[in-house]
C-alpha cells in the first residue's frame, strides 16, 4: 500500500513541527545525543591514538642477530639472503661492527664520545637488524635466526617483550571493550531519553489511533522527528571534536616530536561520518521503539 505524496508531505511537516511543539523535550533529547556523542567521539579519538602509539612502540621492536667473529663476508651474505626470504620477516639490514659503534655512541648522546677510543679494538660484532612482519612474531623469528650456526647470539629485549605485548594486547582488548560498552551505553541512554519524551505523548498517540490513524500514519512523523533529533544533536559534538582534534594534533605535532597523533585527515571525517550515522539511527530507533509500545489501542 503506497503512501500518497500529500500524506508524505504531511508527515514530514508534522515531524518538523513536533520538534518545535515539544520544544523543551526536543532540546533535552538533542542534548543527550550531543553529550553522549561527544563522549563516544572523544573516546574514539583516544582509542585510535592509543592504538597508533602501541603500533609505533611495537614497530620499534627489532632483532639484533650478531655474527660469530670468524664468519666471513660471503657467509654473512648468504645468511642475510636466507633471513630476507623468510615469510615472517619484514625487513633486514646489515650493520657491521663499525656502524654498530656509531649507532651505540649516538644513542648515548654526549656521553657517547668517550667510547670513541674503542673503535680500534671494537668489541662489537657485525650484526643483522631484523624486523618481523608482525611484531608479535618477533620471538619466533629470533629463535629461528639464532639456530643458524653463523649467528653467535640474538638480542630483542626478550625480558621486556613478553610484558610489552601483554600490556599492548590488554590495552587493545580493554579499549575495544570500552568502546563497545560506551556505544551500547549511549544508545541505551539516548533512546531512554527519547522514550521519556514520547511517554509524555502517550495520550496523543492513543487519540490518533482512536480517530482512525493506522500505525504507520502515527509512526512516520516520529520517524522524521527521531532522525532530526539525531541529526541536530550530532552537529555540535562533531564540530567540537573536529576542531578540538585538529588543534590537539597540531599542538602535539609542534611540541612533541617523538610521538605524533594520527593525522586528522581522513580519520576525523570517518569518525564524524560514523557518529552522524549512528546518531541518526539511534534517534530513529529510539523514537520508533517508544512509539511502538503505545500503538496497541
Amino acid at each position: 500500500m503506497a503512501i500518497k505524496r500529500k500524506t508524505l508531505t504531511r508527515h514530514g511537516r508534522e515531524g518538523f513541527k513536533n520538534i518545535r511543539r515539544n520544544g523543551w523535550m526536543s532540546f533535552a533529547s538533542m542534548s543527550a545525543v550531543a553529550i553522549m556523542l561527544f563522549v563516544v567521539g572523544a573516546f574514539a579519538f583516544l582509542i585510535v591514538n592509543t592504538n597508533h602509539l602501541i603500533d609505533t612502540i611495537e614497530n620499534d621492536v627489532e632483532i639484533r642477530a650478531f655474527f660469530e667473529h670468524d664468519v666471513d663476508a660471503s657467509e654473512q651474505e648468504s645468511v642475510l639472503e636466507e633471513v630476507e626470504s623468510h615469510d615472517s620477516v619484514e625487513n633486514v639490514v646489515y650493520r657491521d661492527r663499525d656502524e654498530g659503534l656509531d649507532v651505540f655512541m649516538e644513542s648515548m648522546g654526549s656521553d657517547g664520545e668517550v667510547f670513541e677510543n674503542l673503535r680500534e679494538e671494537n668489541p662489537l660484532n657485525d650484526a643483522l637488524i631484523i624486523q618481523a612482519t608482525d611484531p608479535q612474531m618477533t620471538a619466533a623469528v629470533a629463535e629461528e635466526v639464532n639456530a643458524q650456526s653463523a649467528i653467535e647470539s640474538v638480542e630483542y629485549g626478550e625480558s621486556i617483550l613478553g610484558q610489552l605485548f601483554t600490556v599492548t594486547n590488554y590495552v587493545r582488548i580493554l579499549g575495544g571493550a570500552l568502546v563497545i560498552g560506551l556505544i551500547f551505553t549511549s544508545v541505551f541512554l539516548i533512546s531512554n531519553t527519547i522514550k521519556l519524551t514520547i511517554l509524555s505523548r502517550k495520550d496523543e498517540i492513543q487519540i490518533m489511533k482512536l480517530v482512525g490513524a493506522t500505525n504507520s500514519f502515527v509512526r512516520f512523523p516520529f520517524f522524521i522527528e527521531g532522525a532530526l533529533i539525531g541529526l541536530i544533536g550530532a552537529i555540535i559534538p562533531i564540530a567540537g571534536l573536529t576542531v578540538g582534534y585538529s588543534y590537539l594534533y597540531s599542538f602535539m605535532y609542534d611540541q612533541v616530536p617523538f610521538f605524533t597523533f594520527v593525522e586528522p585527515n581522513p580519520m576525523i571525517w570517518q569518525i564524524s561520518g560514523l557518529l552522524l550515522l549512528v546518531s541518526i539511527l539511534v534517534g530513529i530507533f529510539g523514537s520508533q521503539m517508544s512509539v511502538r509500545k503505545f500503538l496497541k489501542v
Binding site: 500529500k6 496523543e204 487519540i207 482512536l210 480517530v211 482512525g212 493506522t214 500514519f217
Partner: protein, 228 residues
C-alpha cells in the same frame, strides 16, 4: 448496523461493566442510551470502536464481526465511526483547527478540501472564530463542541456521542441536537449516551436504558428513565 449479542466485559480489576448485553441498532436510527452513573454506557461505546475487546459475546458493526477483524483493519473500522468522547480526547498541544483537520488527514483528504470542511464544521458548532486557538485556551463547553466537530467532520456512517451536552448550556445543547438530527436525516446512525432527561423527553427517539451492564428497557419514543 450495530449488533451485540450476549456481550460481557470484565475489567482487569474484576469489575463486570457489561453483563450480557443484547442490542440491535439499524442503519439510520437515532438512539439514546441512558442509565445511571457507572451503568456501562461508556464501556459499551468503547467496545464498538474496539478501544476494548469484549470478554465474551459477539459484536457486529456495519456487517463486520469485530472478533474477526485484524489489528490492521481496526483503523478502517474507526474511520467509519465518529466518536464524541466523554472526556473529549482532544490533542492538547494542537490548535482547534489542527485537531479537527487530523481526522481528515487520516483519511488522506485533499488539502484544499480539509480547509473547507474544517471551517464549515467549526461554523456549525459556533467556534469559527477560535480556529487558531490552542485547545488549552478553551472553556469546557468549547472543548466539547470541538470534540463534536471532529466527530462529524468526515461524515461517518455512525456517530457515537458520549454525554455530548454535559458541559453545554441548554441553548447551545439544543443547537447541537439540531445538528445531530440533521446529520441523522442524511442517513447517519446516531448513538448518544446522555443524562439529559430534558432532551430525551423532548426530542423523542428510541431509548435504550442500561443498568448494571444490561439492557433494562428498549423503547421507541420512550422517555428518560431506566426503571424497567
Amino acid at each position: 448496523m450495530i449488533t451485540m449479542k450476549r456481550v460481557r466485559k470484565t475489567y482487569p480489576n474484576g469489575v463486570q461493566a457489561l453483563n450480557g448485553m443484547n442490542i440491535h441498532i439499524d442503519k439510520g436510527e437515532f438512539v439514546y442510551v441512558v442509565g445511571p452513573s457507572g451503568a456501562g454506557k461508556t464501556t459499551f461505546i468503547k467496545l464498538m470502536i474496539r478501544e476494548l475487546k469484549p470478554s465474551e459475546g459477539l459484536i457486529q458493526i456495519n456487517g463486520n464481526n469485530l472478533g474477526d477483524l485484524s489489528d490492521k483493519q481496526i483503523p478502517y473500522l474507526r474511520r467509519k465511526i465518529g466518536v464524541v468522547f466523554q472526556d473529549f480526547k482532544l490533542f492538547t498541544k494542537l490548535s482547534v483547527y489542527e485537531n479537527i483537520a487530523f481526522a481528515l488527514e487520516v483519511i488522506e483528504e485533499e488539502p484544499e478540501q480539509i480547509k473547507t470542511k474544517v471551517m464549515d464544521v467549526l461554523d456549525i458548532v459556533g467556534l469559527k472564530s477560535k480556529a487558531r486557538f490552542n485547545t488549552s485556551e478553551l472553556s469546557g463547553g468549547e472543548k466539547q463542541r470541538i470534540a463534536i466537530a471532529r466527530a462529524i467532520v468526515n461524515q461517518p456512517a455512525i456517530l457515537i456521542a458520549d454525554e455530548p451536552t454535559g458541559n453545554l448550556d441548554p441553548e447551545t445543547a439544543w443547537s447541537i441536537m439540531g445538528t445531530l438530527e440533521e446529520i441523522n436525516n442524511r442517513g447517519t446512525t446516531i448513538v448518544m449516551a446522555t443524562h439529559n432527561s430534558h432532551i430525551v423527553n423532548t426530542l423523542k427517539k428510541r431509548v435504550i436504558a442500561i443498568e448494571n451492564g444490561k439492557v433494562v428497557r428498549d423503547e421507541l419514543g420512550g422517555s428518560y428513565g431506566y426503571q424497567a
